[in-house]
Subunit: 124 residues, 2 copies
DNA sequence: GCGTTTCAATTACATGTGTAATCAATAGTG
DNA sequence: CACTATTGATTACACATGTAATTGAAACGC
């Protein structure tokens, strides 16, 4: 599974939103936030097809694209990769790093606490 | 502050370890884990100097390199960037993502709990 | 059926990256 | 002082990426 680039990821997000989706549809979704030329998006779609990140089925003359990567799995893989590279593979040091930077607020802490509680109930 | 690549980051880590450090020294450190040719490391050092990620001072004919980026700050910036791109900017969903994947163990949870407790004491 | 529109496929091109080799200057060594 | 070894600087080169333009083929309008 080749790497997928930042721009490609943006396109993939637009596909995850709802799929299958036509190139036009994907372009329109993206253009609500990104000022990308349609040719550019087409290129990215083509590259992702080649990489096996997305697939397509013909519908008349145009294509309908759909993801071949699971969003959650991809997110975890990326997170894991970053945490391995930067934090020796442990999650907590990363979270702790944010604190020093005032990058964590009360809401983050509450969410984390809620998550931990759930985790502990589920595990034993 | 231009982007710094994966390989460059590895070199930077070797410099953070102790600095200032000569190219030879950096190469030796790296070679304990990476089979990189010394020419390769030199190239990366040069590129990072150009990018302003590291600096150097002459020592006789060779250089002593030192970091210009703070390790912690860099780690946070990268983490923040990933969390923004993949998790809408919130930390908890990322941590929660790991759970589904069995990527979190008891130790992680304990570390997180300890961290949260400390955070709560420090804030109000 | 012929021109026009619409797609996907192909090509383009500058910059970044991985991975070095070669060149040039300098410092030791005999 | 000439020769060699070292070390930074310059050059190399293929593949990735951002960002499109051009081409070719199919469909649609008239």
């Amino acid at each position: 599974m080749t790497e997928i680039s930042r721009s490609e990821y943006e396109v993939l997000e637009a596909i995850w939103l709802t799929h299958p989706a036509s190139a036009q549809c994907i372009i329109e979704r993206l253009n609500q936030t990104k000022p990308w030329h349609d040719k550019t998006v087409k290129t990215l779609l083509g590259r992702m097809v080649k990489k096996g990140a997305i697939g397509f089925e013909k519908q008349g003359k145009s294509y309908l694209y759909f993801p071949l990567l699971d969003r959650g799995a991809y997110q975890i893989a990326q997170s894991r990769s970053l945490i391995n590279r930067l934090f020796g593979g442990r999650v907590a040091p990363m979270v702790a790093g944010f604190a020093k930077d005032q990058s964590l607020d009360k809401q983050d802490i509450e969410e984390l606490k809620a998550f931990i509680e759930r985790w502990e109930q589920e595990h034993d």
